[in-house]
């Protein structure tokens, strides 16, 4: 018998602390596999955020830095400038990246730091128990929008990929999801594209992944994926917003 699927060694053996069905686990695997396939794992440095993935460093067998809430792109800048031959990526949630870390992500992107940002957009603050994120859908009830997000006073979901794409420097900006296997394959491709560009020192790459948070959405994982498809994707359309080196066509 030949193994057709097993765990990559870039993932550690530690069981994750994520809730049952949480997409974080899948995305971790796709990153790990990409680093392995590109043969860069031994010189990769991850930057974990504050958020559910704060312990990401426990799940990857690579060097890791645990950054302050929202500051991963600044931390990654410091690391990459110091170790330009490393493959440096941040892994950030929507509270981390789109709220407190707004300035850091925009300016790292604008400087064209040669890093990769994996952005987990699950429309909620998972770690802290379900508060409203900048990407929370209008009408959605959360701990801090108990009557539903009101666009008039709390604003509408922020589309970060679209914002990043207005900047000149970023090389690759794309939005994907892992709501089914077909999309998971595309996500893997996107992550690999991003790391390939970095390996080739071609600049800043940004992969937004629309994800579920079954726990704080109050849904079973399988229902959550359905809900994501029906409600999140219309607001966060999948697609590539910038690809200055045409890597998707290559």
């Amino acid at each position: 018998m030949k193994q057709v699927f097993g765990k990559t060694n870039v993932l550690s053996a530690n069981p994750t602390h994520y809730c049952p069905g949480c997409d974080h686990g899948v995305v971790h695997r796709l990153i790990a596999e990409s680093l392995e396939e590109l043969e860069v794992a031994d010189r990769s440095i991850g930057v974990a955020p504050v958020g559910c993935s704060v312990f990401a460093y426990d799940y990857f067998n690579i060097d890791f830095n645990q950054a302050a809430h929202g500051r991963a792109p600044a931390v990654a800048t410091g690391i990459k400038r110091t170790r330009p031959d490393s493959i440096v990526f941040t892994y950030q949630g929507d509270g981390d990246l789109a709220a407190i870390g707004t300035a850091e992500i925009i300016h790292a992107a604008n400087r064209g730091e040669n890093i990769t940002v994996v952005f987990i957009n699950n429309g909620i603050y998972g770690m802290t128990g379900g508060q409203m994120a900048p990407t929370t859908l209008v009408g959605m009830k959360t701990q801090t929008s108990p009557y539903g997000r009101d666009a008039a006073t709390m604003g509408s979901p922020i589309r970060v990929s679209e914002i990043i794409a207005t900047l000149e420097s970023p090389a690759y900006v794309t939005r994907v999801t892992v709501n089914n296997i077909a999309n998971q394959i595309k996500t893997k491709k996107a992550i690999k594209n991003a790391f390939t560009l970095q390996k080739e020192k071609k600049g800043f790459s940004f992969v937004e992944i629309v994800c579920i948070c079954p726990t704080n959405w109050g849904k079973k994982p399988t229902d959550a994926h359905k809900w994501l498809t029906e409600n999140m994707l219309p607001v966060f359309p999948l697609g590539t917003f910038k690809d200055i080196h045409g890597i998707e066509k290559a």
Partner: protein, 70 residues
């Protein structure tokens, strides 16, 4: 050796693999793991195509898939 191998200690019983298996041959086991979870289990391995959709769907990389070598 099985085509479908699960590490039950990793399974959190999320049910995604069960829903996504195209052959519909996975189901929650009767028993509980020490974590208090009914893990995913194989009901009819003969039907398994080793497509690995279940394994790739698993957020906890709990499943390994093997295929008969030709």
């Amino acid at each position: 050796m099985s085509k479908w191998v699960i590490n039950e200690s990793l399974c959190k019983g999320c049910g995604i693999c069960i829903e996504r298996c195209p052959m519909k041959i996975l189901a929650f086991a009767e028993h509980l793991t020490p974590k208090g979870v009914h893990p995913s289990s194989m009901t009819d391995e003969s039907k398994c195509t080793s497509c690995a959709i279940c394994a790739k769907s698993c957020p906890d990389v709990a499943i390994q898939i093997y295929k008969e070598e030709k």
